[in-house]
């Protein structure tokens, strides 16, 4: 969506975009941090176990349904059209109203159907045959959480409308409010006496209701936050039925994007089934480790790439292949220099991070360690993941939605047998570690595949240069890991919060200083723009 907003801005040349993206970066960071905050609160209060698993799985369902119904299509098609419709004689009023009318009606129907089908979703995502999961509880949560679909949709549509008018602030800050509402919910949950009864699961259970309704309320508030901003830009909603002919020209593109989402969900279903069949806590460990995994990408990757992405889509639109390849190569190399050392740090300190963040409240040491180990084993996938995301943007910028979907097919085809292998071979409570490892490996496949097909289409991608930078980064990361590992032999075992934090800080600082130090000593040119951008960000903050 950022990319599309960028295109829209190019058309009207709104001068405040640079400033807007700066404050947006802060808002994005805040929303990520608070989002992560409530996940940690949840594990502290509820523990890593059946309740957390059930909540986590149920909480992803509305997201999945929303993505399938509207998500990808919205970002890639509706928003550009929204921008284009501003050139209509009525300034896009009719199109916007029609979009809202049709979109929300469709979402309402979808939501009702999804809520009715909640037990089916549970049956799909939860393998309760081994008695390690609690499908009834998942279904109970799903009934409470699936109505979120409607509000996810409302939020997405409204923010698209706002972004088309170059209003970015409220859409960036609203998720923060959502996170705060959920945090408040968790406080209420903790204060309430009693337990969520697992056998039998009772829909009237007060704590269950609080957790479920509170979380949904967060999304409701998040979308309601946009209404004042909408009124401020003078938008008034009127019912307007009908189908805009312009949507039809994107039909093919939308189908491929939907295919992408659907196929990635096949992989997700298999993952969740194997996890829930293996051991209690698997799903929540997976979700939290994945969140931790994405955090560096979210903070560093995205902020580095937001600068490059609009340039890339502009170059692609202008058929300027040289510039496109140049930007792709720069993006890849910058990602390598920034993310490989972070991977190294995560690998060596993963277990400690798990203990430092999650060993508290209702979560015991073993689960926190398991979470951290899962992170350590999957951390190497950070760069491949970032590359896959980058390549995806390049394909979309070239208006090619088919190749990414086909790449996703290959990735999923590699992933599914490996995940079943994990479930069969690895000890049940360690399955989640193996699954995350496989997950990272499939991103390696995806990155190689994407690079190869871009090469087929675009010619020389300076791949050798990229590989050289990756090699140097791996070398630097390895040096950092070695030093941190040696330090770890002297440091206390991370078995409590205090020791974990001490170990984490010492090892983390050592590993990153050594890794980036080696990169700087080798005079890797890619380090310069990254550091200058960070210093600029710091100065701006």
């Amino acid at each position: 969506m950022e990319q599309d907003a960028g295109q829209g801005a190019g058309k009207q040349a709104v001068p405040s975009l640079a400033k807007a993206s700066g404050s947006m970066a802060i808002a994005t960071l805040t929303s990520r941090v608070t989002g992560f905050g409530w996940k940690i609160m949840l594990t502290w209060l509820v523990g890593i176990g059946v309740v957390n698993d059930s909540f986590t799985i149920a909480n992803t369902m509305p997201n999945i349904v929303f993505e399938l119904l509207l998500g990808g299509v919205l970002a890639s098609i509706v928003v550009p059209l929204l921008v284009r419709s501003q050139d209509d004689p009525d300034g896009g009023q009719a199109y916007t109203n029609r979009l809202l009318t049709v979109g929300m009606t469709g979402l309402l129907v979808g939501t009702v159907l999804a809520v009715a089908a909640a037990p089916l979703f549970t049956g799909l995502y939860v393998d309760g045959s081994t008695g390690k999961a609690n499908p009834e509880l998942v279904t109970a949560f799903a009934y409470l959480l699936l109505p979120e679909i409607l509000f996810y949709g409302l939020f997405a549509l409204l923010s698209a409308i706002l972004q088309a008018r170059h209003v970015f602030g409220p859409t960036a800050w609203a998720p923060v409010v959502n996170n705060l509402v959920i945090m408040a919910t968790l406080v209420v949950y903790a204060v309430l006496p009693g337990e969520i009864s697992l056998d039998p699961v009772q829909m009237g259970d007060l704590k269950l209701l609080v957790l479920g309704i509170g979380t949904t309320l967060g999304i409701v508030v998040q979308s309601a936050m946009l209404l004042p901003a909408l009124r401020r830009i003078g938008f008034a909603f009127r019912w307007n039925w009908g189908f805009d002919a312009r949507l039809r020209e994107f039909g093919g593109l939308a189908l491929w994007i939907l295919g992408y989402v659907a196929i990635s969900q096949v992989g997700m279903v298999v993952t969740q089934r194997v996890l829930t069949a293996a051991a209690a806590g698997g799903a929540s460990i997976y979700a939290n480790a994945w969140l931790l995994f994405q955090l560096p990408y979210g903070v560093i990757g995205v902020s580095l790439l937001t600068a490059i992405l609009p340039r890339m889509s502009k170059a692609a639109a202008a058929n300027d292949i040289d510039r496109l390849v140049d930007d792709l190569s720069t993006g890849s190399r910058l990602s390598a220099v920034m993310l490989v050392p972070i991977s190294a740090v995560l690998t060596v300190t993963g277990t400690t991070i798990g203990v430092a963040l999650f060993n508290g409240g209702a979560t015991d040491l073993a689960d926190a360690q398991r979470l951290g180990t899962a992170l350590a084993f999957s951390a190497f996938g950070l760069l491949p993941y970032a590359l896959v995301m980058l390549q995806l943007r390049v394909f979309y910028a070239m208006k090619d939605a088919r190749t990414p979907t086909l790449i996703m097919v290959v990735m999923t085809a590699v992933k599914i047998p490996l995940i079943y292998l994990c479930g069969a071979v690895v000890r049940p409570d360690q399955v989640v570690i193996a699954v995350l490892l496989v997950n990272s490996l499939t991103y390696v496949v995806g990155a190689v595949l994407g690079q190869m097909w871009l090469w087929v289409r675009l010619g020389n991608l300076h791949s050798k240069k990229i590989i050289r930078v990756i090699a140097v980064s791996v070398l630097a990361g390895g040096a950092g890991m070695l030093v941190a590992w040696l330090a770890g032999r002297v440091l206390p075992d991370a078995v409590s919060l205090v020791t974990a934090w001490v170990t984490l800080v010492v090892q983390g600082v050592l590993a990153s200083v050594v890794a980036f130090g080696v990169l700087a000593a080798l005079r890797v040119p890619e380090l310069r723009p990254a550091t200058s951008r960070i210093t600029r960000l710091v100065r701006r903050g």
Partner: protein, 521 residues
């Protein structure tokens, strides 16, 4: 190429001019008498702009004049002319071999006398050379020559566009061929409504003209034949007129002309790259036919990646290589996954005893008031006959799973309920009662548990369901994560042994993975 020069005071076009604007004749003067007209070189009818070669009476040099003819009373025409003059002034900043230098821009009251019948006058350096129309009059140019000719003009447009200015290259008579074989915009003066896109379209039209001798845009001068249209209303591709034209150039010309957002060439830089490549391909080979016949052509063309087109066999080779590398990557990842899984299993085996080696906990001295000087020596392990949850208050904790604590399987366990508060708030404790086939003297109990911090007492019991007061403590220990070995201080035989949890682990829940019993020797 021909260097024949034709000057234009004769012919149909010239006759038309005289009829309408009789004052523009060779020898006449314009610009308050400063410029003497020499010969007319064309007419851009869209702006009623007459293109003349003239002589600067003061500096005694030849100049190219673009005369915007019109009555000052015609406000629309006057405004348009003003706009053209402004745009020309902006574009005058550009110096490039592809465009003649603008020397002066004159308007009414500013160099143009009121009675002259002119709305504006653009003075530029005279470009030596040949008319574009003469160059292609005999036959169209070879494709490579066309590309070479057009390139500097495209570069000039590119430079102008970089500064956001329109050059106005959309008319064939405004462009001339210099003696060193370059196209130059000889009569600057963009139309009032011309866009950047029009420049690109103009370049495409000139390319089309060079390749075919026909002009594909509207408003063609009478001297030039217009391009034939296909059944779809689009101009026919040059390649369909002259099959020897390379596909790439032909398609570039057509694509620059189209308004289509998808697949069209919308920037001059896009066109320049095609020209650069076309210059290199001097010979027109059959290979290019193969591109068009490629069954994958649709796929290649569905985006706008025309600039990536390389000789075809290179591409299919690359595709094969890509598939090979991908297969290799998949295989490598498969192997890595297997290694990783083994590694995890290896780590996993270690994990339960992460707290170090088995912890030996001796019973506290005089734990049961016994005065037994030497603890019993451990003998062989013994299986219990049955276990139950032992509970004295409230509901029993997971009673059906009690046997999981003694089944010898580290994957299964028995867990207490999760309590709000530590014992003895709700209960004094909870435990597992193990019964044996006969009274046995016990030396040790080994408890495998992940719940470090749990405090466990081992008690002998007279029956399967005694009161807590009837049981006797023979050992006590705080469990470490992993295996804890409790030495008991009584070898007194008993048929019932109680594992009694008095303090729960963190989170107010304790889990027993496995409990092993060792009899005394």
């Amino acid at each position: 190429m021909t260097t024949r020069r034709t000057e234009y005071p004769v012919g149909e076009a010239a006759a038309g001019i005289r009829a309408r604007d009789g004052f523009l004749v060779p020898g006449g003067v314009v610009g308050d008498g400063r410029y003497r007209l020499l010969a007319e070189f064309g007419l851009d009818e869209r702006a009623n702009a007459h293109l003349w070669r003239a002589q600067d009476g003061q500096l005694r040099r030849d100049v190219a004049l673009t005369l915007l003819v019109g009555e000052p009373g015609d406000t629309v025409a006057a405004a348009n002319a003003r706009r053209t003059l402004e745009r020309t002034m902006h574009a005058a900043r550009i110096t490039h071999p592809g465009t003649s230098r603008v020397l002066d821009v004159l308007g009414p009251g500013n160099g143009v006398a009121p009675g002259e019948g002119l709305l504006g006058l653009i003075v530029a350096d005279w470009a030596q050379g040949t008319d574009l129309i003469d160059v292609i009059a005999e036959h169209p140019l070879p494709p490579a020559t066309a590309a070479r000719l057009l390139e500097p003009l495209a570069a000039a447009v590119e430079q102008a566009h970089h500064s956001g200015m329109v050059l106005g290259v959309d008319h064939p008579q405004r462009v001339r061929v210099t003696p060193d074989g370059l196209l130059r915009l000889a009569f600057p003066g963009p139309l009032p409504a011309a866009t950047l896109q029009d420049d690109v379209r103009g370049l495409g039209a000139i390319l089309y003209l060079l390749l075919t001798g026909r002009w594909p845009l509207a408003g063609a001068p009478a001297a030039i034949p217009t391009a034939p249209l296909g059944p779809d209303g689009q101009v026919i591709a040059p390649r369909n007129l002259f099959p020897y034209i390379p596909y790439e150039l032909s398609s570039a010309a057509v694509r620059s002309l189209s308004d289509d957002a998808t697949g069209g060439i919308r920037t001059s830089s896009g066109l320049i790259r095609v020209l650069e490549r076309a210059k290199v391909i001097e010979d027109v080979t059959q290979r290019i036919d193969a591109v068009e016949d490629d069954p994958d052509e649709d796929y290649d063309d569905d985006g706008t990646v025309w600039t990536t087109r390389r000789p075809n066999n290179d591409r299919s080779k690359r595709r094969k290589l890509a598939i090979g590398v991908t297969a290799l990557a998949v295989a490598t990842v498969g192997v890595l996954a297997w290694v990783g899984i083994q590694l995890i299993s290896f780590f996993g085996d270690d994990a339960p005893s992460a707290g170090g080696p088995t912890v030996v906990a001796t019973a506290p001295g005089g734990g049961g008031g016994q005065n037994n000087p030497a603890p019993p020596q451990p003998g062989e392990p013994i299986q219990s006959a049955g276990v139950q949850v032992f509970n004295v208050k409230g509901t029993p904790d997971n009673p059906r799973r009690a046997s999981r604590a003694v089944d010898g399987d580290p994957k299964t366990s028995w867990k207490t309920d999760k309590y709000q508060q530590q014992f003895p708030a709700l209960k004094p404790g909870v435990g597992i009662m193990a019964s044996f086939a006969e009274p046995v003297p016990f030396a040790e109990v080994v408890i495998d548990s992940p719940s470090g911090g749990t405090v466990v007492e081992i008690r002998t019991a007279p029956s399967e369901k005694p009161g807590l007061a009837d049981t006797k403590v023979i050992g006590r220990a705080t469990l470490q994560p992993g295996k804890t070995r409790l030495q008991l201080d009584s070898a007194e035989p008993t048929q019932h042994l109680l594992i009694w949890i008095t303090t729960l682990a963190t989170g107010n829940v304790s889990e027993l993975t496995d409990v092993g019993f060792v009899r005394a020797k």
